[in-house]
Amino acid sequence: MTVQNLLKNQFTILDGGMGTMLQQKGMALGTIPETLNITKPEWIIDIHRQYIEAGSQIIYANTFGANRFKMADSGYTVSDLIPAAIKNARTAAMGTETLVALDIGPIGQLLEPTGALAFEEAYDIFQEMVVAGRDAGADLIIIETMTDLYETKAAVLAAKENSDLPVFVTMTFEENKRTFTGCSVSAMCLTMEGLGVDALGVNCSLGPRDLIPIVEEISKWTRLPIIVKPNAGLPDPVTNTYNVLPDEFAEVTKQMLPFGVRVLGGCCGTNPDYIRKLSDMLSEETSRIYTTEPSSSGENSSDTASCGNRDLAVCTPLRTCVVSEPRVIGERINPTGKKRFKQALAEKDMDYILSQAIEQVEAGADILDVNVGAPGIDEKEMMVKTVKAIQSVVDIPLQIDSTKPDVLEAALRIYNGKPIVNSVNGEEAVMERILPLIAKYGAAVVCLTLDENGIPATADGRFEIAKKIMNRALSYGIPKENILIDCLVLTVSAEQHAAMETLKALHRVKTELGLKTVLGVSNISFGLPNRLNINTSFFTMALYAGLDLPIMNPNLAPMMWAFKSYKVLAAIDENSLDFISYSADHEPETVQLKNVKEALRASEESLKTLKQGYASIAAYASALAGGAQLSGPSAQVQISKAVQTANNPETQPPVPALTLTAGHPVDCSCESCRALARARDEFAKHSSIIGSPASGLADIAPGAHAGTSDAEASPASTINASGGLATSEGAGILKAMEKGMKKDGRELTARLLDQADAMTIINNILIPSLDVIGAKFEQGKIFLPQLILAADVAKECFDVIKMKLAESGTASESRGKIILATVKGDIHDIGKNIVKVILENYGYDVIDLGKDVDPQLILKTAIEENVRLVGLSALMTTTLGSMEETIRLLRENHVDCKIMVGGAVLTEEYAAKIGADYYSRDAKSGADIARETLG
């Protein structure tokens, strides 16, 4: 008997609970059940036999927890226990056709990012089990009771890469149809089917009745045979007995059969009686015909691609994105043309990259493209690091973007869920290298319609390449829905006819091949002014031609409005619900009015700002009308801004453009119309200012300000050379820090940058402001959250400075390097991260080694980077040992650095005892220590 043959039957019967049976045999509380394979083989064999007699066709060897982590204190190794367990099962099955499964349960500790176990180490642990099980002669591998999709993926990869055995997977779901870690049913199905498992389903967690909705959900997401192994209901906290009896168990389980359940057994609380009843029920049911088609598993898998028209779906454990309608792929995680991003890559500044990811999600991206290829960057290492980091904070699916197969494979391995790969093209060599990876990891893939001969000029040419790649992909067993075509956007200013050719090709691919389409929309407008106008128009045209997945910048409001509008017009957004709810959260914007409206928004907060804003607009209008005699570079800036602001000053003065919110009736009383009306009136009142532009420009509202001239700064904004805070911006920044006003902090910093260099601003304004707040904290006038709030604002100010420095190609001056690390074994790093924010604000270069950091890595980094201050954090008494060890290692190697330590359980005395130079009781004292040691 083989698994393939067994699955040809309508039903396959598994066994029931092992733990339950062992308890009945008298296993003491706290015993490690796997050790009984060696100490009580007769118990194990007897239990297996009872299940075989009850009708089990597959029995699970007693190897559930036989991994090296769980067995560490058992006195046995994996290679002792797994062969013994398989042998016991074989002995019991002798003379029958019963198959023996290597049973793989969770490792027993949580994987990264919440836990400390790395994906690669999890793979290693499972690999050891798989090899032992394979060599001992298991017939198949069953990965069960999983709650973490990431861990499950590690186990499946280990099983498939180290054996040819069939693989079954079952996860444990709660009533909300998610696992404890939040993994959805769809994510399990998409990811596991993609990795090529043979059957999947659910075990444990609930009794049969509560599993019915979960099984129903599974049936919507997979074509594979479905496995169900329910508990015997719920256990009692005192007696530990379960509340569903065998007859009821079989009867309720029967109700799941119409959903395509074909492999059945029992989990916690079940015994051979349950399996016997189940077996009886199934033999009666076998004669009935269920609507579900028999599975295609074991046959040519390209078969699955041709059966049924499934929509593309990609996922993370938490979020599944079904491309049943157009979805936005955010393009911002990409260094091309972005100096600040390149700098972040070079500095491994993950926080910056993550903030780019979060910003796009908040703007409405459905999927994020991730490209980290830049000169001088180890792309493979960076890609793995970036994908892991993004997945730790963002739950939308990713598109892995690289031209290098080794980078793609590394990312495909560690991605949690089902991603898209960007990209393959029609070149033979490229298809040969990339498509097998897509097939193996079950990803979707973007196919560029170009080949050895370049990009065909005509739609027909691109269509033919699309068809060629599709057929090749299908031949690798890649399901049709996972093949996405990019018909390539060329710059319309260079080749004007190309835009329509792209759209024609896209339309043909969509309608004739039935494939999903992708386009990098913004490429269209290179070299033209008013790019956003071209982009939004082209975007709408492409959507109408059948574009499913635009790759674009979701932070640009006009693009998102075009997208939302299209969905209304194309009757995708039913009853315009999405559009209406989007409108409630977002002001409608037009490109031309953007600056004015920003001024207006500020005006609602303060009448003064309003007046200033309008004085400035009036001044602009005047300047544009030629009534002002401005000169010098700043005047140029103002005029170009004014050109952006006013639609066309020659024929359309700015005043009428302010009268209405686009699309609102004349007498509309909504907030923004009323604000506009007030503004219009203010404008009229202050129209006399038009005659004197300089007075209006002297104190323009934030956002519109450009300074009067570089040489003649107004007294109010002169930097006080003594380093005080006498300037209005300086005082403003202090106030922004105290009140947590990040936006003000950014704007004031941007203004200061027009007048002073970065170091002057940092040393004379930002750091003195932080000192003022730090002193208040020490005096007990303010508390920790306020200190950190100021630090958050300061961080925003530094971001502005960094952006400016990156653009101008200047490196920022560092006050010295500091290593921060949460020590080995410790995974709680919020304290360390708070210290980091503060130290960075004081201008130190923080090398953040993260949490659970190996002492050797700290030593290596300290030496290589010539670091003079190392900060170590530990939360628990159990990890103080790691802290001590790290200090010892640094001392033994005579690293010339000071060491500061901090953490909840530390005391000044203990810090001294383990050889630290400084005890840092809070974030502020960390900065003081840095100043003392590094200056």
Partner: protein, 224 residues
Amino acid sequence: MNVEKVTLKQINRSDALRYLGYGDTVPDDTTLLLLDKCEKELLNHLDCKYLYRVFPLEGGQIPGSAYRLEGSSIASHLAGCTQVIFLCATLSEGVDRLIRLKQITGMTEAMMTDALASSAIEQVCDTAEREIMKSFPGMQHTFRFGLGYGDFPLEGQTAFLNILDARKRIGVSVSPSLMLTPLKSVTCVIGLGEHVANESRKTCEVCSLKESCAYRRAGRLCSQ
């Protein structure tokens, strides 16, 4: 071995503020506003669960068990008890994720959320204790005694979780350095009896944090 869910409608602010370093000081409006926002968000990310088992106690141990209640601290804690409850509670992994996200978007909110979550897990334990005690009318119970408290070894964490089957039932596991995951999870022991010796916490003597404790320095008890 029931798994019970707890829905919190609000979070105990005064505890959270203590964790943030406010004594009896009323925070300023900016802080309060942010705290409101964080509380609301945290409530949306909570998935509070607890799990418990009740065992008989003979001579300070569970009869027929390979797991030992080790150390003098737990022995004196359970004085007068005839039964013992093993309790494990968690806010679940969504909170870890939320705190990670907030550390990127703003450390202040991350810190506030962390403090609020610490307060929330105590509330979940309070609720669990109240609910469990409904099944034991007329019995007295001790205060919750955590693993790692006094000389009650933290090393027992793995076995304790295995006995409750906590990983399988509520998703709580332990790292090799004996930290519980998800972040905001608790394991503890409660003694039951007709006349128990330790209904409430009286001193800091057995606490491993006593040297660095801010409450103690201020001459107070964390339980007050």
